[in-house]
Amino acid sequence: MAGSGTAHLRPVDEVVLRVEDLTVEFPASGGRKVHAVTGVSFDVAKGETLGIVGESGCGKSTTGKAIMRLVPITSGTVTFNGNEISSLSGNKLRELRQELQMIFQDPVSSINPRRTIGDVVTEPLDIWNRTDGAEELVDRVLSDVGLDPQVARPKRRHEFSGGQCQRICIARSLVLDPEVIICDEPVSALDVSVQAQILNLLEDMKERYGLTLVFIAHDLAVVKNVSDRVAVMYLGKICEIASPDDLYYRPAHPYSAALLTAIPLPDPDVVPNTGDLAGDLPSPMAPPSGCRFRTRCARATDRCAAEEPIVRQVGDDHFVACHFPLVGEVAPPSTSAVRVATSS
């Protein structure tokens, strides 16, 4: 869309987390602004995994951090279990974070190198004075994530590999028994074999702890694997929201289609695509008018520059913000980009 709109939102009582018209702007030199996230709306139902996918600079991490209130929200609302949380501060905000936890991209740098793993995982409990049975709880969480508590507790982070550090970070976020965990690129720093271990572990933990996940990543294949619903973001806006299988078989937004073809497939018989998507992401300080994707879109017309597309439904649980989507009621102006949709 790179556009706005709320057609894809579900009733408030069906969702755990609801983000409406979220805008995050950062001040830049010369009185300019970085439009990191602009008018983003989405919701997450209980027990669901929402995947957010996009290139670097599309605002996906900022969105995650804004929900956690780690960056200031410029405008818009975040509702958690029916309570508005975007205006909380001080102790109220701290209390909220027991329910909302986050896992970061670099597992090694998010663990204090001077403290033992036992301390690192116990600290959230200490903060909330939940000392009764804390030791057993930490042991249980550590063994749930696949580490031997007796061995792991006295060690420090340098004695663990990247995958094991990510397990520790997951244990730390689970120890308070949160309702929602926001995973910001949890596997992009890991090897592919370890990535599979961590993705499987997240699925297991989601089941065991009854979690709702927001899974942010740039790898569409990874996001597709873990998600129940996927939101594609581009330059601070949402392009498309759909179920992962639908998004893969019938991408409606030209950007989603381009993302899909850019993924290198481990198959020598597939001729690598020779570039649908030219150019770079435009500057978020001066985003293009109308549809933000139009500068790189093969299907863009004058209408895309003049008028911002609004989210609309193009299928069962499939929403897109595009004037000329690859599926739906409007006939495509050209066929050049359609091969993507049929190549599956």
């Binding site: 590999s161 499987n200 569409l220 497939l265 695509n273």
Partner: protein
């Protein structure tokens, strides 16, 4: 006087472009000898692309740096032979290597930000090697640099010529790094994870660019990556590395259609595929690569292998020839053979599975981990 030794020599007619024999790079650390690269042998012909695939710490980066002569000065032991156009270059000094870097071999590194000089205009960074190696004057070098920038797909090359790296995006920076590497017309391009730091859409652009440049210049390329997807459609041959050794090597087609090494199979299976339905459980490889200081007695992959048998724990498998002449692998019970099938059945029947993740002290190889 050390300049252009190889060019003057003219190379030996008929010799392959690059011939590596039993290359070993060991780091001497307080923990012991880290065998980062341990007996690698391969040959690369002109105009071919070799993909080197492996996990972090498998030695693929150390291998490419060993070939380029870019290892730390102390506490390193490099043995084995590196023949470039028939000339032995493994005993070249840094000064002698300077004649090789640029016109003969060039390298692209993973992180385009740190491989450019932040306080030097990008034009100067490209013309530097042109003026040194090709004795060009300032105007000639500038013209060539601008046309290089244009050929790697940088818009407004005249304007970019005068800019600094921070003014460019990540993808543009990597294009500049490629322009620098291509400047002196190398016959061999080493690309060490050239797209790992980039977005998937930019990755496709950069890989297409490398492809086009390689064909245009009839350059040989070594593409080092951890992603089997990156090399699948783009490399002629693929070498899979594990714990400092090549464990399987074949043409891309043979490797994907008839892989023999259980590690290659496991690596491919652990990649989430787009055509899988969501929530498909991924086949992960249990455990971690072995210590390179005290390598296991038998097969390096034995502790994580589904096909493991007694023999694997006791004996080291050698690199053996497969059904086709260009296919080599290191396994007693190869995937897709009767021996492999029986081994797997026996393991399943006896409930023998490789040990899963346990906590142990990790020793990382200096320079080995990226």
């Amino acid at each position: 006087m050390a300049r252009r030794i190889i060019a003057a020599d003219g190379g030996h007619e008929g010799a392959p472009l690059l011939e590596i024999t039993d290359l070993r790079t060991h780091f001497l650390t307080p923990h012991g000898r880290v065998r980062a690269v341990d007996g690698v042998t391969f040959t690369l012909e002109r105009g071919r692309t070799l993909g080197i695939v492996g996990e972090s710490g498998s030695g693929k980066t150390v291998l490419s740096r060993s070939i380029m002569g870019l290892l730390p000065r102390s506490n390193v032991e490099r043995t084995g032979s590196i023949r470039y156009e028939g000339t032995e270059i493994s005993d070249y000094s840094q000064a002698e290597m300077r004649s090789v870097w640029g016109p003969q071999m060039a390298m692209i590194f993973q992180d385009p930000m740190t491989s450019l000089n932040p306080v030097m205009r990008i034009g100067r960074q490209i013309t530097e090697s042109l003026r040194y190696h090709l004795d060009m004057d300032k105007a000639e070098a500038k013209d060539l640099a601008v046309s290089l920038l244009k050929s790697v797909g940088i818009p407004e090359p005249d304007k970019r010529f005068k800019e600094y790296p921070h003014q460019l995006s990540g993808g543009m920076r990597q294009r500049v790094v490629i322009a620098i590497a291509l400047a002196c017309g190398p016959k061999l391009l080493m690309a060490d994870e050239p797209t790992t730091a980039l977005d998937v859409t930019v990755q496709a652009q950069i890989l297409n660019l490398l492809d086009a440049q390689q064909r245009e210049r009839f350059m040989a390329m070594i593409l080092v990556t951890h992603d089997l997807g990156v090399v699948a459609g783009r490399a002629h041959d693929i070498a899979v590395m594990y714990a400092g050794q090549i464990v399987e090597k074949a043409s891309a087609k043979t490797l994907f259609s008839g892989m023999r090494m259980p590690y290659t199979e496991a690596l491919l299976e652990s990649i989430p595929k787009l055509e899988y339905r969501s929530h498909t459980r991924l086949a992960s490889i249990p455990g971690r690569p072995p210590s390179l200081v005290n390598p296991p007695k038998g097969c390096m992959f034995a502790a994580r292998c589904r096909y493991v048998q007694e023999q694997c724990l006791e004996e080291k498998p050698q690199l053996i020839e497969g059904d086709t002449p260009d296919h080599q692998y290191r396994c007693f019970f190869p995937v897709g053979t009767d021996a492999g099938r029986e081994a797997l059945e026996r393991n399943l029947a006896e409930g023998r599975v490789p040990q899963t993740d346990d906590v142990e002290v990790a020793i990382t190889a200096p320079g080995g981990a990226k």
